[in-house]
Amino acid sequence: MPPYCWRKGSTVEISVSVNGTQRTSEVEARTLLVYYLRDELGLTGTNVGCDTSSCGACTVHVNGESVKSCTMLAVQADGENVTTIEGLAPSSDELHPMQESFREHHGLQCGYCTPGMVMAACSLLDENPRPSEADVREGLEGNLCRCTGYHNIVKAVLACSGQDVS
């Protein structure tokens, strides 16, 4: 086997920029990105919901794009830039505009889906800065809210894009 192979049970050194800080860790190749973030780095803001790529609670950004971190291996993030919900706000006493909009428009009830919703919503606005309501609903189809709070979530995203939702 060539030298760039890691045997079962051994660990792989990965270096990932997480929320702007370069982190170097040893992980098993089978470690999922979400467990690396939560268990290895202690970034528990990213939730595990369904663990089957359906619910979007574990959504983070990899190189600025939303991905489901339960369906990506940590080794696949080696050398990449990862942003989690903890890295979104500009400072510890200030919210990101999307977080502020979710608060303003009551875009959450129990809050479990919220970190993933906010990350997916930010990625959506990056790709489509002034979405229609239908664009937002379709753009968030990978994120489930079991409190059925979609209406206010959609409102929060539209408001964050600078559109009147009154």
Partner: protein, 275 residues
């Protein structure tokens, strides 16, 4: 759920990846975006001993104009296909179908090569490439060969790819204009199609394929034959389920799928300009 342990190898070129899968045979799997493979590994539906990560292989993410066709690298992500100006202008059906795969998060990671090599009869992109009459370039230890999409899907999650071959490129004919359509019927957002129908006019002939109407994505040959002999959209669509063996599952019986195939084919044909 965590996948079972595996040896992990990073390949930096297609040749390197092919030599690794040649060495390990069916114990090895190629990992691209991982959006079909990783869920299967978590559920132990796939337990490869060796995982060959090809995400770092360069020069396989292109979308290029090659005269009469467009060549798409196997590692091109669904999102880059969905947003490719070249495809939107020259093969709008493929760009549109890519936008209907899964959800945005899935489209940011999943690749066209992965989707085709996985050969899921319920997937969107295999049916699109099939309706377009595209072809697939695969590379093995002894060089490349080209396989017509109509010969590529050989069984349930099975393709004409040999154990030591890797899909490197997908070719689709230029098919600009509005004579195309994709109908995807599902009950939940981001779900696979219960039945889907892709239709595209290529070189003057209407080509139609069916999603989730058998063990592979299928060309609706009975519909195409009827259209070629002058049938209307409604008459041709009546033939949609002929010769198919639709699967049964929690979502639908074969009879219901046959009904959906007829209804969706009529809609797809009418939206493609067939009267």
């Amino acid at each position: 759920m965590i996948p079972a342990s595996f040896d992990y190898v990073k390949a930096s070129s297609a040749d390197e990846a092919i030599s690794l899968i040649s060495e390990h045979g069916d114990e090895a799997k190629l990992l691209a975006g991982g959006h079909s493979l990783i869920p299967m590994m978590k559920l132990r539906l796939a337990v490869p001993s060796v995982l060959v990560d090809i995400a770092g292989v360069r020069d396989l993410s292109h979308v290029e104009d090659r005269g009469d066709h467009i060549a798409i690298g196997a590692l091109a992500k669904h999102r880059s296909i969905e947003t490719s100006d070249l495809l939107i202008a020259q093969c709008p059906m493929l760009a549109h179908v890519a936008s209907k795969v899964g959800d945005p998060q899935v489209r940011h990671r999943g690749t066209i090569g992965g989707s085709l090599a996985h050969s899921d009869p319920a997937s969107d992109l295999p049916a699109a490439v099939l309706a377009l009459g595209g072809s697939l370039i695969v590379q093995g230890p002894n060089g490349q060969r080209e396989i017509a999409a109509t010969d590529f899907f050989t069984g349930y999650f099975e393709s004409a790819l040999a154990e030591d071959e890797m899909l490197t490129e997908v070719k689709v004919p230029k098919s600009p204009g509005t004579n195309w359509n994709y109908q995807k019927f599902n009950r939940r957002a981001q779900d696979w199609a219960i039945v889907g129908v892709a239709a595209a006019q290529v070189d003057g002939a209407m080509q139609v394929s069916l999603v989730n109407m058998g063990s592979t994505p299928l060309r609706a040959t009975a519909v195409e034959t009827a259209l070629a002999s002058g049938a209307s959209a409604a008459e041709a669509a009546d033939e949609a389920a002929n010769g198919t063996e639709a699967p049964t599952d929690l979502n639908a019986s074969p009879e219901y799928r046959a009904h959906l195939a007829r209804v969706l084919t009529k809609r797809a044909l009418e939206a493609s300009g067939v009267e």
